[in-house]
């Protein structure tokens, strides 16, 4: 999203420098996020719904704070092992004894053939076993033995359902790129900097699809915060570096010019310009390139025009899978060139909510 008023007159200079992957926190808008964003709590002020979320208080019925029910002071019960640095692990600890019996080549079974298991057969029980990849005894090699488990049987068919329910399992390649992930940072447009939050709502790697909300603050005076719903295409076998969307207004030339501003794209430049280039294994690479297109406003998708703001363009995105940071360049034919988006991941400590479309 961009401000349609302020920057038309400004020189089209780029503030994008290859070395500044981190978002600039010293910008004029004084974005108030710390150098090191802490784990976002549900009731923290970052949450867009914070004002409507009542804090849990002791007046709530189920909640008492008598932690002594289970809290034992560590000085009493924690086994403190004063092992020297790099000490060999205690010999008695590593493997449960009887588990080892599973490694006996006489009784070990091959890795689970999922054919054994089938939908509608919940009565069939499956044995736990651990298939060895190597029958070694050393500590190091034993840690390489794979623990194997099987996939769940198909969900229960609701009766008379010719469509047995097929699951919409989402697969994620990254701790950062998953449904529910949040990012915080700025959009730099000319001399102004706006605070931006992004929340990913759905990530589907098999469809190279991503969508979420983009919140931008202070873009217009009438609307302190504007939120848009965006959809993203991940560049890979399904979507090419070349946009090929006349309605998005980007030509091949603008595509290349924008991608080329991402340092991590440059090694790909030569191949990526070829019309038949297919960006394979995109999810295994350090960087995932995307295009994000804002579709409508949230909460009311019917609002088409906001005075002083526009989301007619789209972002070229470079997502860093190692750090979770996102760099983006906004493109629209009639707006200032190379307005840049810099976001970093809001730490969640593996606090991943789970949802799965039914």
């Amino acid at each position: 999203m961009r401000n349609t008023f302020s920057y038309a007159h400004q020189a089209q200079t780029s503030h994008f420098s290859p070395s500044s992957i981190r978002p600039s926190t010293s910008s004029s808008s004084g974005v108030a996020h710390s150098h090191r964003p802490v784990l976002e709590r549900a009731n923290s002020s970052i949450s867009s719904t914070a004002s409507t979320v009542p804090q849990l208080t002791p007046s709530l019925p189920l909640w008492t704070r008598s932690s002594d029910l289970y809290f034992t002071p560590p000085s009493i019960s924690i086994p403190v092992l004063r092992s020297p640095r790099y000490a060999a692990p205690a010999q008695s600890e590593p493997e449960p004894i009887s588990l080892v019996s599973y490694f006996n080549p006489e009784i070990a079974m091959p890795p689970v053939p999922s054919a054994e298991l089938s939908e509608g057969e919940s009565s069939i029980v499956k044995k736990v076993f651990v298939a060895p990849t190597q029958l070694a005894t050393s500590q190091k090699e034993s840690s390489r033995r794979k623990v194997v488990s099987s996939s769940l049987p198909l969900p229960l068919e609701s009766a008379s359902d010719l469509i047995h329910t097929r699951r919409a399992l989402s697969n994620s390649s990254s701790s950062f790129l998953r449904s529910g992930s949040k990012f915080i940072g700025t959009q730099q447009s000319g001399r102004s900097t706006y605070e931006v939050h992004v929340e990913l709502k759905h990530v589907d790697m098999t469809e190279s699809f991503i969508c979420g909300y983009l919140h931008i603050q202070g873009l217009t005076e009438d609307h302190p915060t504007l939120t848009t719903y965006f959809e993203g295409q991940m560049i890979g076998p399904k979507y090419s570096f070349i946009t090929r969307r006349r309605d998005w207004g980007a030509s091949e030339k603008t595509d290349i010019a924008h991608w080329a501003r991402f340092p991590s794209w440059r090694p790909l430049a030569k191949q990526a310009k070829r019309p038949d280039y297919c960006h394979l294994d995109f999810e295994k690479r350090d960087h995932i390139f995307m295009r994000w297109k804002e579709c409508f406003l949230v909460p009311d998708h019917r609002v088409r025009d906001i005075n002083g703001a526009s989301f007619a363009g789209f972002y070229y995105i470079c997502f860093n899978q190692l750090s979770g940071s996102i760099s983006g360049l906004y493109f629209h034919q009639s707006s200032e060139k190379y307005q840049q988006l810099e976001l970093s991941h809001v730490g969640d400590h593996g606090n991943y909510y789970a949802y799965e479309f039914r």
Binding site: R36, P37, V38, L39, A42, N43, S47, V53, L56, L60, P61, W63, L69, T72, P74, S77, I78, V80, L81, R82, P89, P94, P96, S118, E119, G120, S122, V125, K126, K127, V128, K146, V147, S149, S150, S151, L152, P153, L156, S158, S160, D161, L162, I163, R167, S174, S175, E207, C211, F296, L322, S323, D348, H349, G350, N351, Y352, A354, Y355, R358
Partner: protein, 781 residues
Amino acid sequence: MISEDDLLPFLRRDDLHVQLTALRALKNSVIGHSEQKSSYLDRGVVPDLLAIVGLSSDGVHDPLYDECRIEAGVVLGSFANSDPEISSRLITEQTFTTLVQILNVSTPPQLLLACLRTLTALLTAEASTSFVHQYPAIPTALATLMLHYSVSLESHGLTQQNTQILTRLCDLVPLVAPSHSFIHAFGLKLTPPLVKVVRCTILRSPRQPPVNRRLQSTAILALSHVLTPVGARELSLSAPEFTDALLALLRAPETATRLSSASLLTTLYTSGLSDSGSSSGVTRAPQNEALALVLVPTLMKLLDDSLAAGDDGRGCDPQILQTLAIVCREGGEVADRCVEVGLIKKIVSVVMLVAPNNHFSTGRMPERETRLLAGGLLCLAALGLHKEEYRKSIIEAGALGVVVAVMNRASTPAMREVKIAACHVLRTLSRSVLLLRTTIVESGVVGGVVDLLGDPVETPMDTTVDTAEPELLIADYADEKAFDIEDKTENLEVRAAAMAAVCNLVLEFSPLRKPILDKGILPLIVAGARSRYAPLRLNSVWALKHMVYGDDMETKAHVVSQLSFPLLMRLCDDEEIQVQEQALDFIRNLIARSENYIDMFLENVGVAQVFELLSRKLGLDEDPNNTEPYYTEVVVCTAYVLVHIAAGYERHREVVIQQEEILKKVIRLMSHERDEVRLACVWFVINLTWAEEAGRGPGPEDEDEAMSASGEIHFTECCRRRAEVLVGLGLREMLEVLKQDRVLDVREKTKTAVYQIENLLGDGNEDEAGLGMNIDVDGIN
């Protein structure tokens, strides 16, 4: 000659000759004369006829007995094959009981044939979803009769009568158990005889007499109806010539033959194995998709032919749509191919043709059109499962209006399947954030779907948040019974389908979440979680899990106030594994990013019980006799419950580190084959060894201490001790391996974990360890 008016008394005579004469006269007077039938029905002829049909000859082989029974059977058949007003008056328990009783090999073939004809007509007129449930003897009876009458099929062909009987038996199969919930037990009994009949009719040498085409296609359809996925796999693996013969039949001149063989082939090809690694959740042999592609032209041609017929597609065989639905539910190239040739528009045109055109029309839809509508909607639902493009096309074609109209229509038994199909369409279309936020929110579907969830229930617990005490949740629980024990399964099926749609509609980003919750459905969902009917239980727990997804603390508190922890624990050990998975995921969402809920969970359930449960769900038990199933998905959600507890306050970490059994298992699971499991294990370690910055503190009760420097050192010390415990259990070796993991994300998080451990234990210097906290660590920021 007997006067017609006097026939009834003669039917009750003991003299068989008189009875027989009367029956023949009755037959001649009613066949083809609706007024006569109506008049006799008014005078109560049916019980008399049933009494004669059901006569047992008691070992006396008097041919007259049999003749009387046959004549009575024929008369009944004549009544059954009349106008709906007449045939519907035959539908009584007495009729069915009598008819089912005589389905045995000692019944004279002519009588059997007449009975089968009657049963078929009655069940076609008024589909009973639970017929097989009411008459559990019927599968065995049908199977025995099939074997009996197909004896000579292989060798020297069948008599015309035997062919007719076999055809009728096959006709009856889908009618007796139209609902797939009863197929399982039913299918096991009927599959072997049906396989035999089909095999005999499709694999014939030129020397054998030609087979009756109608018998062939009905037998094939019946088999495709009863075949379970397991049976289908066995069949397609064990007999390749079987599939070859069916493929050849795709080119047969008769429409019915082509359609039936396409149906059976569809069942054979789509019986995939579950596999969470694939996008649709199933794996199939790759050649199966290629084979399924062969079916697309056949099925599309059948559909096009019916659409081109004079009645705009009203005459379309519902079986075509049902088969297309099954083909499309697998997604992939097959669905793409169907969409390319315009399937969505064609289906929507059929659906709109037969759909009820306004919400208030109460007129009865013809049975055929009901099936057509249900089949069309299922087909759309199947396409909506997979691709966003399909969903958008379905909506653009105008299908959502039909869904809303169907849902708002009065509930009648005939509309049941249609409503279920409509729920599936709504469910699969709402697999899209965009559609939820745009078209679906405007469709006015909320009222309809909430109504299908059933009547409001009396909750056994106090529902108001302010007055309930923790003890209340546990009290009275033992007396609690499944609320729907009296409910018919078919009602529960509708409820389950509606609940499945609700799962998506109550997601955090759905604008329908609030309107739906405002309708007060939470008690209905909680009641669903107590249902005896597993699919409803599954969908209800799934919906609850979605309600506590995200940071909406108000809804979380509301849900927890209604769902008791004992119920939650029971669901974690549900006999259905999928329910367990959803219940564990519910806990995972409930306690995510909220120390308060971690406390609430631990206190209400008890620390020992919580960790006993989690340890059990992690598997890896040492007992070699353990035959508990071991599923990746369950391990993943259990591991994340642990990750979330370990992300809580300092005291939560301290509780976790005391669970040595769990720690050992987590470390062992770092060599799990699935990367999600390995990743969760690494997060667990990161959280247990993460030295917090000063500000966040270990918890409100220790706030003052947290602010002080000595407090900080204390917590660093705790972290170090936890790291030592983990290292003592063999963590370092596991992390060494994970540094080279094939998955980038696991490697990256392992670096963080290693970094933290080295900082804490690296050189044993406390101050150095403290410094580590200020260094940017990937993944934490």
